[in-house]
Every structure is written in C-alpha cells, then in structure tokens.
Symmetry: C2
Amino acid sequence: MQSSPVDDVDRELLDQLQRDAGRTLRELGDLVGLSPSAVQRRITRYRADGVLAGQVAVLDAARLGVVLAVVLVTLELDSPAHHHAFAERVRGVGEVQQCYALTGRWDYLVVLSTPDAERCREVGDELFRRDPNVKRYEVLPVFDAVKTGLAVSL
Amino acid sequence: MQSSPVDDVDRELLDQLQRDAGRTLRELGDLVGLSPSAVQRRITRYRADGVLAGQVAVLDAARLGVVLAVVLVTLELDSPAHHHAFAERVRGVGEVQQCYALTGRWDYLVVLSTPDAERCREVGDELFRRDPNVKRYEVLPVFDAVKTGLAVSL
DNA sequence: TATGAAATTCCCTAAAC
DNA sequence: GTTTAGGGAATTTCATA
C-alpha cells in the first residue's frame, strides 16, 4: 500500500499492461527482459501498492452502435455539499462512463454512453435538466471516437 | 466478424467483463449460470465478432500523481483533410488519452494524461498552440476524477 | 447450434536458491 | 533476480439435446 520506487522496467511493464493485459507472464517477461516469476512478483507488488487497480475488458463501442455524448456542467451553488451530492449521483448512473471535476469555466465534464440517441437524451434530461443543483449544461454529441483508453503516460 | 445476436446472457457476461476481466471462466460461469466451457466459447465469439476489442490494465492515476486535463478544440478549416490530419496527429501522441470528434460549438474533446503539470502545459502548447490548423482551444485542468472507465451500457 | 463434462496442455503460483 | 515443482485454469475434444 506504500509507494514503491518505480524503475524503467516498471514503467515498461505497466505500459505494456495498459496496452494489453491478456498476455502471459512469459510474453511480458520477454518484452522487458525478465523471467516470468520476476514479472509476477512485480505485478503482485503493483496490486499491493494500489498502483494497479484491476483489468477490464474493452468493447468496440462503434460496432455495438453505442452513442456517446460529452456534457459540460456548472452547478448552481459552489458548496462542498452540493459538489459531493452531484458526484455521488453521477457515480451511481450506469450510463455515465466518466466524470471529471474541472477548474475553469465549467465545473464538470461528463461522458455519457448509451445504447441509442433517444436513451442518451433521456439520461441527459433526467440527470441535468431536472436537477435544480445544475445551473447550466451543454451537451456535445460525439460523432467519432478518434482515440479512447485509460492509459496514463509514465 | 459478423454481427451475432446478443442475448441476455451475452449482455450480463459483457457487463461483468467490463467490470473485471481478471476472473476465471468458472467464476464468470457461476455469475451467468453457464459452464466454464460455454463462457469461453462465448468470449471467443465476442473476439471473432470484434465486439470484444481486448483487455487492459487500469492504473490508479491519482496514486501515480498523474495530471489530467480536458481540452476543447476548434479547427481553422472544416475540410475532411484537415480533420483527418488532426485526428492522426493526436492519435500518435502518448499523452493524449482520449479524443472525440464533436458536433456543436467545439470540434474536438481531447483528454490529456501527463506525469506532471509542467509536462501537461508543454504537450498542450506543442499540440494546439503551435498548430496553425487549430483556430482556438480551451484547457480545462481536471481537479478530481469522479468516475473513470470505458464501460458501455448495453 | 447450442450445451456440459472430461482429458490435455499450459500457465500461474509459491517455494527454494 | 532465476529455477523448480505443484495446483489450477484455459483449451480442446467429445457426447448430447
């Protein structure tokens, strides 16, 4: 759980895992010049340190006909309680794929992911229009996912 | 590679895989009421159909001290060639975590992920300020990642 | 065309060094 | 850090409705 030193091999290994976590310890070891056991020991350490949160399947949104939308939101009141309430609310909604608290002209960026355009509008209405906590919001429909992922550059 | 019918079990299975792809076929089978063999067969089919793109490791950005920023971009010229050039450029930059083509007041949403704030500013400058193709852009630093992921609701 | 069960192979895991 | 040994999972094959 404590911060361990991160060397070049760690960076390379974490980078590879972010690209494809479906490879064997042998394959990963060949890539970074380590034995499978050494790779496993490092990965175990990442988990214990909390650096590696988990592994998830990535679906092809376009092929599934999923509709994405970006929503910029500003709250009515700037109190911690209101921000906490908003954060908890969006966290519990399955159609909210991502949500970031911002500094600047907008308070939040919300990424919506829905099976179709109608559902997208419904969720947006339900989530923002009906919330008196929301002062203003702007929906920017996505027409192409140029690049997606969760990879962080180390 | 062709579109297969997606039944309730498929939806449940894909949903579970999006939450945690690190479980055994037995565990997944228990969740959806199928034998390990049947689960594996379905997963193989998802891959063949292109519905399942892959599996990736998710790192804890906050713990790694990663700095995120959201950038809204509008291009100077609206031609397909200019859009293609922009898309190709951001795709090749490691610090660009996500990029979506939008409809509305902005052409693109770009999510930057960098080791620190200085690098974030550098990448933003290099990527947008120096590009004559970019008419205007607005950087919105991320204060807090309320919710992250790539999961699509089915 | 789907399933579940069995047999094989391979990998992950945890030792010992 | 590597090598080794054992248990477990993934994969394949097969029988079936």
